[in-house]
Symmetry: C2
Subunit: 168 residues, 2 copies
């Protein structure tokens, strides 16, 4: 077995989405059992100038579909950013999962040196496929999933780090 661009991306993304879905499931169950309006959690933020939970989930799924599409050199599916319930957010995670399941190892492997350019509001970031995956796509994905987790923990949802890491 040798590490490949596919192994370091698609199955990792899939695992993160599975864990994110489980975390959202626990959040929805917490709101239900505690009589909390789910919108309170969905709109919760850690700071007034940070994004709310819904946007964190949107960006996490964007990070996955964007990275998978760039590495496989296929078009990125576009989702309207209109999710307002846990069911909506779960559907978005599921659509992202379905998209990446259709990407094969052959499409991603060999992308180490593929030129990848990301436009941010301030500048353009230029990467090779390998540096894009390792120093942008993965840390960015984990940033938004961890922030989702942190928003929920800060609001009293009973989660542990194993919910984030997933089953071994």
């Amino acid at each position: 077995m040798s590490l490949s661009m596919y192994e370091a991306s698609i199955p990792v993304f899939s695992r993160v989405l599975t864990n994110l879905s489980a975390i959202l499931g626990k959040a929805a169950a917490h709101a239900e059992s505690q009589g909390i309006d789910p919108a309170v959690l969905i709109n919760a933020r850690l700071a007034p100038d940070m994004f709310p939970l819904s946007r964190q989930v949107q960006i996490a799924t964007d990070a996955v579909k964007g990275a998978a599409a760039r590495l496989a050199q296929v078009d990125t599916p576009s989702f309207a950013d209109t999710e307002s319930s846990f069911a909506d957010l779960q559907e978005r995670v599921a659509k992202t999962q379905a998209f990446i399941q259709c990407i094969s190892a052959d499409q991603v492997n060999g992308s180490e040196s593929l030129p990848i350019s990301i436009k941010t509001p301030n500048r353009e970031l230029n990467f090779s496929g390998q540096t894009f995956l390792l120093s942008f796509a993965l840390p960015n994905l984990y940033f938004h999933v961890t922030t989702t987790y942190a928003i929920l923990r800060h609001n009293g949802v009973a989660l542990g780090k194993m919910d984030y890491l997933g089953a071994a």
Copy 2:
């Protein structure tokens, strides 16, 4: 260029430590400029049953040195968990950086199938080197660095995601 276990670990860890150090530097400067006791930030938490900032940094550096040592099959250096200032935390990050800089590509490459076992308070987790790196060590590291960032943002420190991602 082909993706390797070394490329997916040591340079990535080094980059994360560099970014973590810069974030801690901005936090210390914020405390200084705002007349805030640095201990307030160092002991801040996002929830009463989450770890404070100091422990997040300790665990992030433990994640790096533990993962690097396991993949390279060398002993993990032990640090006393006694940091109580930003200078102490910076020293810990620097010691971790110095440790991993001494690990060569030859020591880590080929570790894809290396059996790695992690004892948690509740159970033992068994991995191959590849699954350990991709589904445990990296997400765990990003979890604690993002939580450090989130604690500081929640407490008003002016940081942006590029501080976490680092220079492209």
